[in-house]
């Protein structure tokens, strides 16, 4: 599946036909592919349990995929040697959903920030001190947080510390796994503002995972929609929010706008590989073919942006029995 026009420089991150399964369940992630350019933000959207976090862990090398490949700057993570992987890991960091749970409770903020610097042996003891104070400033905190423990901060401050830890190695890719979902609206706004300025000033690429479409709207350049482990739609943000192609995307947007509500039962039925569209059970525009064949990805061309959707509606062959 090729979702992009080609250019020479290898992309920062490329996920190709990624499949992950846990114990004996069906594939939690089923042949997912997407790309992320340097300095851009990809919003990974979908209901909880659609497998978004597993992709993040696979990219970080914490999960071994069953099939497919993850290319960072053109080379595959699972094939990387120890040093190459360490160098790659320096350039990609993650921020989690629960701020309190993402900081080691028995270690001070200073120790938490020093750890990545020592691990990747960045700079020496005094240059590290400057690096720490400079990073703290970028996330809107100051020196006196250093000797204190995580439980002495509000969740908003804890998330800023977690972001500082992720920034301190000057990463090119920052994965935000529901990074603002656990925060109050006003704190959420502060963190989103911080992430936007980080992107503009430092050119960091964001893989922003969230179930909240309004949050994605504020930060994403492109949007990828996941449902029960499969990628259903991939499109630039403006196109997605104004002219969603896939029925599931349309449903998600109308739920978010409180226009409609889904019918019961709402759990996705497990679908055998390749025998049907995974969203068929819930789909408002279901056709006969949707129940029998798995749709391919189809490209909808607007001007130069690429917009692909995995749905029989956009397959010319089926237009006759629409």
């Amino acid at each position: 599946m090729d979702t992009y026009s080609h250019n020479s420089k290898p992309r920062l991150l490329e996920v190709k036909e990624l499949s992950i399964s846990f114990l004996k369940q069906a594939n939690a992630i089923d042949r997912v592919s997407f790309k992320l350019e340097a300095g851009k933000t990809l919003g990974l959207v979908g209901a909880s349990g659609a497998g978004k976090s597993s992709i993040a862990r696979a990219i970080l090398g914490l999960l071994e995929p069953q099939a497919g490949e993850i290319l960072f700057d053109g080379n595959s993570i699972s094939k990387m040697g120890k040093h190459q992987l360490k160098a790659a890991r320096r350039r990609m960091q993650i921020v989690f959903q629960e701020p309190a749970a993402s900081l080691s409770p028995r270690r001070t903020v200073e120790q938490t920030l020093l750890e990545p610097l020592r691990h990747f042996d960045i700079g020496d003891s005094n240059s590290r001190k400057d690096k720490i104070s400079q990073t703290l400033r970028t996330v809107g905190l100051n020196q006196e947080v250093l000797p204190r423990y995580p439980h002495q901060f509000s969740s908003g401050q804890q998330q800023r510390i977690a972001i500082a830890r992720a920034l301190i190695t000057d990463p090119d890719l920052l994965i935000a796994d529901e990074a603002v979902s656990a925060l109050d609206v006003s704190v959420q706004a502060q963190i989103l503002q911080l992430m936007q300025s980080l992107q503009q000033e430092h050119g960091i690429a964001f893989l922003f995972i969230s179930h909240d479409l309004a949050v994605i709207r504020q930060i994403a350049d492109d949007v990828a929609v996941m449902y029960a482990g499969q990628l259903l739609e991939y499109s630039p943000a403006n196109t997605f929010f104004n002219r969603p192609a896939h029925p599931y995307s349309k449903a998600l947007l109308s739920f978010a706008r409180f226009d409609t509500a889904p019918e019961l039962p709402i759990r996705p039925q497990p679908v055998q590989h390749g025998t049907a569209c995974i969203y068929a059970g819930q789909c408002a525009d279901k056709m006969i073919v949707c129940g029998r064949f798995e749709p391919e990805f189809h490209k909808i061309q607007h001007k130069k942006e690429s917009h692909c959707v995995k749905c029989h509606l956009y397959d010319e062959k089926n237009t006759n029995d629409m």
């Binding site: 609206v185 502060q190 936007q196 909240d212 943000a237 409609t260």
Partner: protein, 334 residues
């Protein structure tokens, strides 16, 4: 009883709550008063830690934190004051006249009893009829929240259902005795957008079809705007503004309300500068500032705001035709 008392499903007057903390007794709910008519929905909005959940529990006379104390002038459900009842009398009211649903559907139901057993128990407790009407009432209640095979759901254990389904089962339990008042504490926060819409739709149906008065507690203003007519904005234990949702979103009178609204990420517009955030953060109960609690974070604050506590200026009679309460607690409203 005045006629408004007849149609008022829930009337809360002068409700305050104190909790015991390391640094002594702290007040976390400060003299809250409001009333909700049958078939009306009122939102109680505020950030985490503002005391909104504690208010909900205090209305039922339940204080989860050990060493917490509660005071109220009156808490009337259908005109009957439940705050002065003995615990046995209050138990006969809870679940029959006033019911509550919770934020975490995953942990709000007893894992070792089936959904059917738990709902039937509530009905049996409040209806002493001999025939097995209880099971039938449970099945009807499940059907009404949208389950097409209620008996399958009744036989299931909570861990066998998804989050959304558990919340719907919770609503079925809350409404099996057709209560006059339903308190919903963050009913959709733990759900994703699909199930959220479904749950809010069912709550709306209770309000319109059964005339249940709804008090919805949430930190999410867009959920409140969608499901409630009136809204109360709460901060550090005090209600800062009371109005209808329409007016709040068109012209919020209190700076904090305006700030909250500005923070909401808009679905259809990517604001260039990003959502405008409120500077600073919510203080802990032991560190509530004197005077108006929001003063330190408020751009419109004057010296007066730091010194004295703004009284709640209820607006004069020209409130909209349904005459519900409106007002703002601010020396310099917008």
């Amino acid at each position: 009883m005045t006629d408004t008392a007849l149609t008022t499903a829930l009337n809360v007057q002068g409700l305050s709550v104190w909790i015991k903390t390391a640094s002594g007794k702290q007040q976390i709910v400060d003299n809250i008063s409001f009333s909700i008519k049958a078939g009306e929905a009122t939102g109680l909005v505020g950030e985490s830690g503002c005391g909104k959940t504690m208010t909900a529990f205090a209305i039922l006379g339940m204080l989860p934190a050990a060493g917490a104390t509660l005071e109220s002038v009156a808490i009337e459900v259908n005109g009957r004051d439940i705050s002065s009842l003995s615990s046995a009398q209050r138990r006969s009211v809870l679940g029959r006249d006033i019911a509550m649903i919770f934020q975490q559907p995953g942990t709000a139901l007893d894992p070792v009893f089936t959904i059917g057993q738990q709902i039937t128990a509530v009905h049996r407790r409040h209806n002493r009829s001999k025939k097995n009407k209880h099971r039938q009432a449970m099945l009807n209640s499940l059907a009404q929240v949208g389950f097409d095979q209620p008996d399958k759901i009744a036989a299931a254990y909570p861990h066998e259902l998804s989050g959304g389904m558990r919340q719907l089962a919770m609503i079925a339990m809350a409404t099996v005795c057709k209560p006059a008042v339903l308190i919903a504490d963050e009913p959709s926060t733990a759900l994703d957008s699909g199930t959220r819409a479904l749950v809010l739709k069912q709550i709306k149906r209770l309000q319109t079809d059964h005339g249940t008065a709804i008090l919805m507690v949430s930190h999410d203003l867009s959920v409140i705007r969608q499901s409630c007519e009136n809204v109360m904005v709460m901060y550090c234990g005090r209600v800062l503004e009371k109005t209808d949702c329409q007016s709040l979103f068109t012209h919020a009178r209190h700076p904090y309300s305006a700030g909250l609204i500005a923070c909401i990420p808009q679905l259809n517009a990517r604001s260039a500068s990003g959502a405008k955030a409120i500077p600073g953060q919510v203080p802990a109960p032991s560190a509530f500032p004197p005077g108006c609690h929001f003063a330190p974070r408020c751009e419109h604050a004057a010296s007066q705001c730091d010194l004295s506590v703004p009284g709640f200026l209820a607006e004069n009679e020209q409130g909209n035709e349904r005459g519900n309460e409106r007002g703002v607690a601010c020396f310099r409203p917008l």
